[in-house]
C-alpha cells in the first residue's frame, strides 16, 4: 500500500475531487493547510500597512491506496490540479507499513479497498 499526499490549490479542489471520482478513488481525507512553495507573495494593504502574505492557502489530500491504484490516483491529481503557474503544489507517494479499518479490524489491502470491491492481491 501507499499513502498519496497531495498539496493542491484550493480553487482546484473541486476539479481534483471530480477527477478522483472518475478514477474510482473513493477514500480520502482533506485538510486546509498553509504553505510556501516559491510562488509570488500576495500583497495586502490595511490602512497604510502593507503586508506580504508569505504563506498561501492550500488543500492537502491524504489518500491511502493499494499499489495498483497509485498511478491512476496520481494521474488524476496531476491532470486536475495543474494550472501551469508556480504554486500548483506537490504530490508525495509514501510507503505505508500497516493499515487497519477501524469498523471491521480488516488490515492492509482489505482495509484500503472500498466496500463491495474485491481486494486485489
Amino acid at each position: 500500500m501507499k499513502l498519496v499526499v497531495a498539496i493542491v490549490r484550493p480553487e482546484r479542489l473541486n476539479a481534483v475531487l471530480e477527477e478522483l471520482y472518475k478514477a474510482d478513488v473513493q477514500g480520502l481525507t482533506i485538510t486546509r493547510v498553509q504553505g510556501h512553495g516559491g510562488e509570488r507573495e500576495q500583497v495586502e494593504t490595511y490602512r497604510g500597512m502593507t503586508v506580504k502574505m508569505e504563506l498561501s492557502e492550500k488543500v492537502r489530500l491524504d489518500i491511502g491506496v493499494s499499489n495498483h491504484f497509485v498511478e491512476p490516483t496520481v494521474k488524476a491529481i496531476l491532470k486536475a490540479a495543474h494550472t501551469g503557474s508556480v504554486g500548483d503544489g506537490k504530490i508525495f507517494v509514501l510507503p505505508v507499513e500497516k493499515v487497519y479499518r477501524i469498523r471491521t479490524g480488516e488490515q492492509d489491502e482489505a482495509a484500503v479497498t472500498p466496500v463491495g470491491v474485491p481486494a486485489h492481491g
Partner: protein, 429 residues
C-alpha cells in the same frame, strides 16, 4: 413642549445609544481574533459604567449651572431632572440624550489601547475620565455659562467635546501604555473586516441621531444637520477611495469604513451650521489629512492601534476649524464663518480646539499615571500573547469546543479525560 419634538428626541437618543455597539463592531473587526471580545467589551461596558455615572454625577458636572469651567452639583443623583421642559423637550430626556454622547466618547478612547490594557484598569480610567475630562469640556462648549459657549465657539454636535477630546486622550493613552508586544515587528491584521464595515454602517445610521438630534427638536435645524450628515461622509468616501486607487490601484474596504467615520467626525461640529454644498466640500477636504496621517502613523512608534488620533482627533480638528470657514448664517441663523465675511470665527474655533487639546492631554495623562501607580495598566506579556479574550474575560470569541471538558459544580478539580489517566497508570506499571 410638542409631541413632534419629543418623538424625534426619543428616537435620536436611541440612535446615538446604538452607536456604541456599532463602535464595538467597528473596532472588534480591526483586531486579531484572540482579542475580539475584549475589544468589543471595552465599548459595551461604557454603556453600563459611563451610563450610570452620567446619571449619578456626570450630567450635573457637565450641564447644570456652575462656573465657566465646570457645572455645579445641583443635578447630582438627578435631583431636579424632571419631566418639566428643558428647551423643547422634557429635562429628563435631554439628560438621557446627552448621556449617550458621554458613553460613546469614553468608548472611542479604547481604540488606542486595545490588545494590551488590563480590563479593570480600563474600567477605572473611563469612569474617572468621563467625570474629570468629558464633563468639564462638555460644560465649556454646551452649558449656558460655559466659557467657550459664551465666547461663541461653534460645536453643533461635539467635534471638540467628543472627537478631539477622545482623540487626544487616545494619543496620551497609547503613549503612556506603550506599544503592543511585537508592534512594528509583526503584522497585526484585522480579523473580520465585514464586522468593521457593519460597524461603520451602523455608526452612520446612529449619527443621524447624534447630529440631527443635536438640534434638540424636530425642526429645520435638525433637517439641515441630518442632510449634511448624509452628504459629508459620502464626499469623504469618494475622496478616500480615489486616494486609495491612485496610491495602490485598489480601493480597500477598511479604508472605506475609515473614510465614513472620518467624514462623520468632520461634519459633527458643522452639521447644523453649514450649507449642504459646504458639507460636501468639508467632507471631501477632511479625507486628505486623515488619509496621510494613517500612512504616517504606522511608521512611528506610536501604537494608536485603531487610529483614534487620525480618525477622531485629526478629523475632529479639521471639522472644528472648517466650521469656522464654512458656517453660514443664512442656513443656520447662528453665525457666519471665514468664507462669509467673519474671519474672527476661525480664531474662536482654533482657540476652542487648542483649549480642548491641552486640557484633555493634561488630565488624561495625570489620570493614567495615578491609576498606574495603584494598579498595573497593562496585561502581562504572557496574557497579551495568549489573547485578552481568554486572559481578561475567560471566554473565546470563536471557540470550537473540541477538547473542552465540563467541570462539574460538585467537583473541585476537572475530571481528567479517561485516556489520559489510563496512559498515566500504564506508564507507572
Amino acid at each position: 413642549m410638542n409631541q413632534g419634538d419629543i418623538a424625534w428626541m426619543l428616537t435620536a437618543t436611541a440612535l446615538v445609544l446604538l452607536m456604541t455597539p456599532a463602535l464595538a463592531f467597528f473596532y472588534g473587526g480591526l483586531v486579531r481574533g484572540k482579542n475580539a471580545l475584549n475589544t468589543m467589551m471595552m465599548s459595551f461596558v461604557a454603556l453600563g459604567f459611563v451610563g450610570v455615572l452620567w446619571a449619578l454625577a456626570g450630567y450635573s458636572l457637565a450641564l447644570s449651572p456652575g462656573g465657566p469651567f465646570v457645572g455645579g452639583l445641583s443635578h447630582v443623583l438627578l435631583r431636579g431632572v424632571t419631566l418639566e421642559a428643558s428647551g423643547a423637550i422634557p429635562h429628563l430626556l435631554f439628560m438621557a440624550f446627552q448621556g449617550t454622547f458621554a458613553i460613546i466618547t469614553a468608548a472611542l478612547i479604547s481604540g488606542a489601547i486595545v490588545e494590551r490594557m488590563r480590563f479593570s484598569a480600563y474600567l477605572v480610567f473611563i469612569s474617572l475620565w468621563m467625570l474629570t475630562v468629558y464633563a468639564p469640556v462638555a460644560h465649556w462648549v454646551w452649558a449656558a455659562d460655559g466659557w467657550l459657549y459664551n465666547w461663541g465657539a461653534l460645536d453643533f454636535a461635539g467635534g471638540t467635546v467628543v472627537h478631539i477630546n477622545a482623540g487626544v486622550a487616545a494619543f496620551v493613552a497609547a503613549l503612556v501604555l506603550g506599544p503592543r508586544k511585537d508592534y512594528a515587528r509583526q503584522a497585526f491584521l484585522p480579523h473580520n473586516v465585514p464586522f468593521t464595515l457593519l460597524g461603520a454602517g451602523l455608526l452612520w445610521f446612529g449619527w443621524f441621531g447624534f447630529n440631527g438630534g443635536s438640534a434638540l427638536g424636530a425642526n429645520t435645524s435638525a433637517a439641515l444637520a441630518f442632510v449634511t450628515t448624509m452628504l459629508a461622509p459620502a464626499a469623504t468616501l469618494v475622496v478616500w477611495t480615489l486616494l486609495d486607487l491612485v496610491r495602490n490601484r485598489k480601493a480597500t474596504a477598511v479604508g472605506a469604513a475609515t473614510a465614513i467615520v472620518v467624514g462623520l467626525v468632520a461634519i459633527t461640529p458643522a452639521a447644523g451650521h453649514v450649507s449642504p454644498i459646504s458639507a460636501i466640500l468639508l467632507g471631501g477636504i477632511a479625507a486628505v489629512p486623515s488619509y496621510y496621517a494613517l500612512l504616517f502613523r504606522v511608521r512611528t512608534r506610536l501604537d494608536d492601534s485603531l487610529d483614534v488620533v487620525a480618525a477622531h482627533g485629526l478629523g475632529g480638528m479639521v471639522g472644528a476649524l472648517l466650521t469656522g470657514v464654512f458656517s453660514e448664517k443664512a442656513w443656520s441663523g447662528v453665525a457666519d464663518g471665514l468664507l462669509f465675511g467673519n474671519p474672527g470665527q476661525l480664531w474662536i474655533q482654533t482657540a476652542a480646539v487648542l483649549a480642548t487639546i491641552v486640557y484633555s492631554a493634561a488630565v488624561s495623562f495625570t489620570l493614567l499615571k495615578v491609576i498606574g501607580a495603584v494598579m498595573p495598566l497593562r496585561a502581562l506579556a504572557s496574557e497579551e500573547a495568549l489573547g485578552l479574550d481568554v486572559s481578561q474575560h475567560g471566554e473565546e470569541a470563536y471557540a470550537e469546543g473540541d477538547g473542552a471538558i465540563l467541570v462539574l459544580p460538585d467537583r473541585e478539580t476537572p475530571t481528567a479525560p479517561a485516556f489520559a489517566s489510563a496512559t498515566a497508570q500504564g506508564g507507572r506499571s
